[in-house]
Amino acid sequence: MIRLEKRPNPSRLWTALTPVLAVLLTMIAGGILFAILGKDPIEAIRTIFWDPLFNEQFAAFSRPQLLVKAGPLILIAIGLSLGFRAGIWNIGAEGQYILGAVCGAAVGLAFYPSESPLIFPLMVIAGALGGWAWAMIPALLKIKFGTNEILVSLMLVYVAEKLLASMALGALRNPEGGGFPGSRNLSQHPGTANTELFPGTGMHWGVVAAFIAVIAAYVLLNRHILGYQIKLAGQAPRAARFAGVNPNLLVAVCLGLSGALAGLAGLFEVSGPAGQISIDFNSGYGFTAIIVAFLGRLHPIGILLAGLLMALTYIGGELSQFMLGIPAAAIQAFQGMLLFFLLGLDVLSNYRIRFSGFAAKGAS
């Protein structure tokens, strides 16, 4: 019989080891899945994890994509992780991402055709504010009326999507676009473009912001009283109140901060890789970032690595669809497995497994 036994202290070894183990198990289980689909599992796994970075034919294109995709995921996930640590569940980063893009783009387009170097910084500020404001809606409703932030923030994603469509079709539509939906292209206009900083690397301002966010979050959580209060509120809410933490303030800070970072991610995307406001501008970064946050164990460095890994499975997934004809749904299942194994293996860091013939029954 197998029995779980709580460790007095969480094991550091297992905390570090479980992500690696989870990736390995995902490869095995995913390999079985691909084999059932009639694909060569070894080749599929290689196409997903290896080819995007090292295949001579594809790497020149897909390697820069790694940072392009990981940037927004990391930026959003860092913001979300702060709230998640405090037990404040912002599920609506996708909506805040859209609002950041819309607000930032609107500012950029308002100055068109000026090419002043001040425009881009202004757009960055507007993007952050847009995401922040959208996140403050669930925050204020929670503080004032005790509503559930999970539901409100999630519902606001759908509102944001409608708003995005109306902007693409109305206020922000390109007057010279011949009636097609979508705004002017921001990335091809000097004043508003989020340019690639080093050609061929995929490094743009959003990636820089993501790295800064990782460092800032690390310092906040480990060296600052606010980070301590966030952790305390998540682990022991009653102890946090005893310590003098104001729960309402924490709700506003955590939701506001995660909204602002998601808004930034949206702005950097719309002014760079995406280029314009369009009806289907958002591509699910805000939701995938939730997985990234947990995959990285809500730890800034972990999120950095998880964001890169997730981006890799995205690029590799597309590549395997293209090369091997693996269905998109199988790739999504594969990504889901990663989270499943990680959360499942989490138990090892807090519990010890005992094998024994005569296991005692615990207290009921």
């Binding site: 036994e5 007095p8 202290n9 969480p10 060296r223 600052h224 009283i225 606010l226 301590y228 952790k231 305390l232 682990q235 022991a236 009653r238 102890a239 946090a240 109140r241 005893f242 310590a243 003098g244 104001n246 005569f358 005692a360 029954k361 207290a363 009921s364």
Partner: protein
């Protein structure tokens, strides 16, 4: 007459600790048998094995001459063993009868059950209205629900785990009358407690456990409480002593404080007034659930109120916990894990929890970890907290050690006022003595100390003055010296309208 239960060489080990080591003892029918020992001595593990919650690694038991190895509580109940736990498992939003029906294998119709409950409760002097919501019952009445739940099974052996920790002295008398009646009917009772006077008054035999081993068996009526305590602890007990110095000016005063309950079944504080002087230890007695948590949170700043709380005459009711700490009001809540300390955080992080302001552990919001660490280590050293290191998680410490840590954390911050709730609850005798001594030493240096506790012996030992909290109301404070147990009992609200029960019990006894 055959022995009812005999326990033969039971052993149960958990990783790192042998909870029961070769334990043997026997209970005769109609005997009230005490199981004595400090926290961690192995009492709970032993009764859990008898009740089928835990299986022994080795050893055997016989019940009425037959082999007895219950694999689950249901099997134990079927064999005639019932247990009243220290912590009640009752649903507050359900009625008494519904709660009892929930614990039964085949509950009869509600009306029939209600009649049975009324019958049993009358017969044993424990009146209880089957239709009342459990949420409206006092702790003593809730315990009666648990007892009646057991009596309905007509057990041969009734196990009671620390049954008097939630009762007033008068309620204890009623409980004892019930237990004595059960004994006359031939029911054996296994009585777990560390209150020695009670055991001397009630029990016929005692088995004393220390560190998982049986260290002595005796007739408690022939031993003094002190002798029993020394058998339990295994050494001569150190007596706490107060300096008995002159009291200073009033430091903390509370005028007419009323506070609505925080939860549906919480207690409303009504017109609480008192003041504490520098160097004074004010003991506030009362049965749990009479407003202790609410009073602590009103003083710690977790709950704010209109201008009712004053420090040196300045209104401080509207200040939060951090600001109150700044001006010297520190507190120690009852619940160690989750309230006074964060279970999964290290002792260093837990030192920061209340120490950041007064110990200057953060500059402009940035934390000074080396300084925090040395503060944690100072607490560990000064208060003899047994832990592998300051980096251990709070939950890995034993109750007594963690309590020494959280009380020590406040004491070392040189408070002007220290408010503690149940400072020695669930703590072994040596740690409890150390904590009481620390509180007395603090008062000797001029701190005003408020000790909220259910343990009347403790309050009598350390308090200069005493007040009783009952139903959210605080009695006037009186000097502690010379108070008798009966007087205190009356201040605590007597038997909570249980006088009826008393007369019924008498009738039943004389019938």
């Amino acid at each position: 007459m055959t022995t009812l239960l005999s326990v033969d060489r039971l052993t149960k080990a958990y990783p790192g600790v042998v909870a029961n080591d070769d334990v043997s003892f026997a209970i005769e029918p109609g005997e009230v048998h005490a199981l004595l020992g400090e926290n961690g001595a192995g009492k709970s593990t032993l009764v859990k094995m008898i009740y089928g919650l835990v299986r022994p690694d080795s050893g055997s038991m016989t019940l009425s001459g037959e082999a007895f190895a219950p694999s689950e509580p249901r099997a134990a109940r079927a064999s005639g063993v019932a247990m009243v736990f220290q912590h009640f498992s009752l649903f507050e939003a359900l009625s008494v009868a519904e709660n009892i029906a929930l614990g039964m294998e085949n509950p009869p119709k509600m009306s029939a059950l209600s009649n049975r409950i009324a019958e049993v409760s009358q017969a044993y002097g424990l009146p209880l209205d089957p239709a009342r919501l459990v949420g409206t019952l006092s702790a003593g009445e809730r315990q009666r629900v648990e007892i009646i739940r057991c009596l309905l099974q007509e057990p041969k052996l009734l196990i009671m785990d620390e049954p008097t920790s939630v009762l007033t002295p008068q309620e204890v008398e009623i409980l004892f009358a019930t237990l004595r009646k059960l004994r006359e009917e031939g029911t054996a009772i296994l009585y777990i407690s560390h209150k020695l006077e009670e055991i001397r008054a009630l029990c016929d035999a005692a088995t004393i456990l220390r560190l998982g081993k049986v260290v002595a068996s005796c007739d408690p009526r022939e031993k003094s409480a002190r002798e029993l305590a020394e058998m339990m602890v295994g050494k001569v007990l150190h007596q706490t002593k107060s300096a008995g110095q002159e009291l200073g000016d009033a430091v903390l005063s509370v005028h007419d404080l009323s506070l609505p309950p925080a939860t549906q079944f919480g207690t409303r504080l009504a017109n609480v007034s008192f003041e504490v002087r520098a160097g004074e230890v004010l003991g506030i007695g009362g049965v749990a659930g009479n407003g202790q948590d609410e009073l602590l949170s009103a003083l710690s700043g977790e709950r704010k109120s209109a201008d009712h709380v004053f420090l040196h005459g300045d209104a401080i009711s509207r200040l939060g916990p951090t600001q109150r700490r700044q001006i010297g009001i520190l507190s120690g809540p009852e619940e160690r894990l989750g309230h006074a300390a964060a279970p999964d955080m290290s002792l260093i992080e837990n030192a920061l929890l209340t120490g950041s302001v007064r110990e200057n552990l953060a500059q402009k919001g940035f934390l000074n970890w080396p300084k925090t660490r040395s503060f944690a280590e100072r607490i560990i050293e000064t208060f003899d907290v047994r832990t592998p290191s300051a980096q251990s998680a709070a939950r890995s410490l034993s109750g007594g050690n963690l309590q020494k840590f959280v009380i020590g954390r406040e004491v070392l911050q040189r408070p002007e006022v220290l408010v503690v709730n149940q400072p020695t609850w669930g703590v072994d005798a040596a740690a409890a003595a150390a904590i009481r001594q620390a509180l007395l030493d603090l008062a000797a240096k001029g701190t005003a100390v408020v000790v909220i506790s259910q343990d009347l012996d403790e309050l009598m030992e350390i308090s200069d003055t005493f007040a009783a909290l009952n139903g959210g109301k605080l009695s006037a404070k009186v000097p502690a010296a010379g108070l008798t147990v009966d007087q205190i009992g009356l201040m605590l609200g007597g038997a909570h309208d249980m006088e009826v029960a008393d007369s019924h019990a008498d009738e039943a006894l004389h019938a």
